[in-house]
Symmetry: D2
């Protein structure tokens, strides 16, 4: 596969994945899951919408939960550095033939709604209200002590177009998966912030959101949060793990399903990848899982994801995509 030069300067600076906006059916239940159990901080609660952030986040929200009739992911949020970057981003998406629209989003600066070639509905802004980081507010720590959003993973049949589009915006490909002896992209891990991924695209019926991932401090938090989830009635929501990825990212993870089925990954570790000589790591199917232990992901993890609100998603072809998904981890 031809990899663009990792060091070119894009016309605008997307800095990181920043938030997800989910529709949920019962805000009280979501609050019990995300706030009372996982330990997210409530930045704002206006009865229809709950704005949450991790303990170390100084920005207003990394999760927005809106009451709705049907669960769906409304938007994946990205940040650019400046208002000028935002204008350039708008121009870039527009001239790429993608829909763009300026909207008002609470607690955010000027906000661009657009979507990428995979169909992911995006929300991009350069500014957000700030809130106190809770780094030292130990008396408020509980649950998994979630620190911050790290990345999102999107299911799509358009892995290569998505990859090329994001790389053209300055994302670097940190790792990717291909079938043995093939250059067909099965999964791509793209980053801006200097660790393995801000956004991941995996070949499956889509576009759908597979998960949003948040860092937690240490491996004992991975085990403890499962215990607490069980105790608080969310034990069935522990979908996979605690375990270790034996492929891209190498993370120690646990995957959870929230009360509406939205998937959350909590993980503890990521390496730094900043230097130009860091080449994308190529994984062929048979490289994966070399030193694996533990259970394989359940079918739900392989096949299910959150629909994007208002976006038609292809249907998961169970037999085909299971085979593909099985490659991933």
């Amino acid at each position: 596969m031809s990899i663009p030069d990792p060091v070119f300067r894009p016309a605008f600076n997307i800095t990181r994945a920043s938030h997800v906006v989910h529709r949920v059916r019962d805000l009280a239940k979501s609050r019990a899951f995300y706030v009372d159990t996982l330990g997210f901080v409530v930045s704002h609660d206006d009865h229809d919408t709950l704005y949450l952030r991790g303990l170390e986040e100084g920005c207003h929200h990394s999760i927005v939960l809106k009451a709705g009739a049907e669960p769906a992911c409304e938007r994946v949020g990205l940040r650019v550095l400046t208002e000028d970057d935002l204008d350039r981003a708008e121009a870039h998406f527009r001239t790429s033939g993608l829909p763009t629209r300026w909207v008002q989003a609470p607690f955010q600066g000027r906000t661009l709604h657009t979507s990428d070639p995979a169909g992911t509905p995006l929300e991009i802004c350069a500014a957000m209200q700030t809130k106190p980081r809770r780094i030292m507010h130990f008396e408020t720590f509980h649950g998994a002590c979630p620190q911050r959003i790290d990345h999102v993973q999107v299911l799509t049949r358009a892995v290569r177009p998505a990859c090329e589009f994001y790389m053209a915006m300055g994302f670097r490909l940190s790792e990717y998966i291909v079938p043995d002896n093939s250059d067909e992209l099965h999964a791509v891990f793209l980053q801006r912030k200097g660790n393995p991924h801000d956004i991941v695209f995996v070949n499956n019926a889509g576009p759908r959101l597979h998960h949003a991932a948040f860092t937690i401090p240490e491996v004992h938090h991975l085990m403890y949060i499962c215990d607490l989830l069980g105790r608080n009635g969310f034990g069935a929501g522990v979908e996979w793990g605690p375990g270790r990825h034996f492929g891209p990212g190498y993370a120690r993870f646990v995957y959870l399903r929230d009360p509406d089925g939205h998937r959350v990954e909590l993980f503890t570790n990521h390496y730094q990848t900043i230097d130009a000589e860091d080449e994308p790591i190529r994984w062929e199917m048979s490289d994966l899982n070399t030193s694996r232990w533990g259970t394989f992901p359940p079918d739900s993890w392989r096949q299910e994801g959150s629909a994007f609100a208002g976006v038609a998603a292809g249907r998961a072809n169970t037999s085909a995509s299971a085979r593909e998904a099985a490659i991933v981890r």
Copy 2:
């Protein structure tokens, strides 16, 4: 169920479960598993037999591995406090109609071979050579940093006779499992040393050894040892976990199979149970797993165990015992 008075003074003092003696087919492989990976200390290696102890153990061995043609568990070791206790124990087993025989066992004092009503081949002694505890020898710590043997679990159809026999020797019943609204004993957890168990009997075809359990220091060791097992070629030996027991003992565990299939439990936590008012905890089937998360034990964990050398074991009736085993955890 009628529970004997927990505070009577038995005629002799069995103090704890102390060791297991296993036959293994390839000592080099066993050493790679137990020593190079799990982190047990070699107390003696005479080419045919490997004597291992945990990092905190001052006694010579808690695992004895003997080269043999077929894998089997030869003996479960128990300790009594004094030579006088040992003589009284011999008399008790003999007058109970059980076979007794004095043997020479390397690195041990006078040693009694006998068996219990479940058919478990026992090896009892009052003394063992001592070795330096490695508590502060940090430069030798690695792998799971196993500290010491804690208990063994035996499969048998004779759960009630085994329970009564051990209680008559001063073992206290810490926890037990029965079917709903029944007093039929499905599993009994018996202890002498002040935490939940030294020996456990579970209803299944037997007698067979289900596992020997060793304490490790902290939950991060549970996760790390899996990573290391995977890396050292033993990933498939991670049979179940890391997880949490939602019934007797509450342990955070991982179950491993050694290269010969002998099962090892590593776990991190146990409560103290010393006071006379600590009543045995009764678990009915429907009480178990109330706040569970994570995978259920695989069939292998439910059905398989080490044969005892020279002891005919009943066959596991898969459908029946799977149902029963499913109760246990």
Copy 3:
């Protein structure tokens, strides 16, 4: 030093150190420290007295805090196994010329007040009301997640008489400290429950209580509780540590002073010592601290302790006892 035979059977069975009774000036402050910060569970609060237990304790209390004008330790609690043991204990103390008195103590069975040759005011009982163990009640875990009382340490000039008295009651000497080339006992570590100590006597002006020690689960709890103490206004109460003892017990510890100056040790690890061949470990001054790192204990730790209510204590001879105390760790 002549060590009594470790395996004789005492006339009665003291099982363990069980609780401390402290006078405190402000129960609300004590509650903020022990309950809201350290994480002890309130078993009963009758406005004048607060009864606390650790997360894993099934007995009613391991700390009793009584409102009083002056801080003092009222009693050190020990448990015997049965009421019969209690009667035999009373006879033993009485015939040893020590004061004995039967009292009513809330939530306890028949309770004996007496004292040992060091002058430690003791409270001994065979029964206590039970409370649910919180082992799996994860939603109530916080702070240091204290599990259970482990031991107490008493300052006295009568180390040898105390040692002999407790050994005559079946306590085993696990470790002891002497000056180089001397058999003068500087400190003795005595145990009944199978780990290094239930009660410790150290040579200093006394009798005074140096500390009560509680186990906590893992080393991250040691670091976290300091952070939380600082945040909750108790940072100055972190007297020494987190650190490692380079002598008896080897514990990873932190020593705290409660709002009245009563000292609490939180620690994570202890080895098992049950077998008859476990000989007392002799530490000469120059053996201690061989592989030490970190700060030496502050003068407060070396010299200060809680007065026992109504018991005249010798004065700490600062220069002499500092020299002696310096030996200890």
Copy 4:
């Protein structure tokens, strides 16, 4: 203090602090400290020079140890993204009146030697040979499991000029310390890679290197590495901690002195700071240590640092700089 706009685009892209070059008197001792104890990986050893990297680093070295007669820090290494950035950097330093020189440095691409206004001898390159990341090579993990270099701290009287110079090169000021009601810069924490600091300047006699800091995975590694250092004869090298910073960075740290007195910080946590709205955090003296616990830093930590080879350093004015240094933490 006037803070430059955080979002301007510098003329060249310095990406991160990348390595330190130290002169040491005895490479075997240094190896015992850094490799056998701390757990760094040897990338190359040519008898005169030892090249080390952390477990997660894909670049060839983050520590270079050269045999020399006197201990000194030769260079602090910075990385730029591209060769073009390197040329622009050279021009910038040169036109700023600073010495620049192209050198050959083993395992690095074209390398620029220069210095900053504080007098720090710098070594800047755009490329380094790569080595396998050890992320999953668990069998080689030991000691503190150091992951990667994070930042360096330099002592200088020229804090403000240094701050302005680095900000003019695109560094962002994440935190800074001033006396109460003053804008005099006592310490500045400057970053390029999105967490609190790549380079820190603190007011003291200089230029001298205060420390190089490396991330380690979890808090238990902080405690364990001290135990291992003690055991391996380096216990006196544990200078301060394990503890928590109650000011800039909030890190959980331990400070070590290597066999030549070079200071190493190991720490576990850092927050992400990427967004333009993240304003520099201002600490006045009286803000610091609000919720502190634990020992204050020893005088050595406050006053001592590594001389830079061939660079005259001011003398530490003990009384004045102790007062100043006391502010820092």
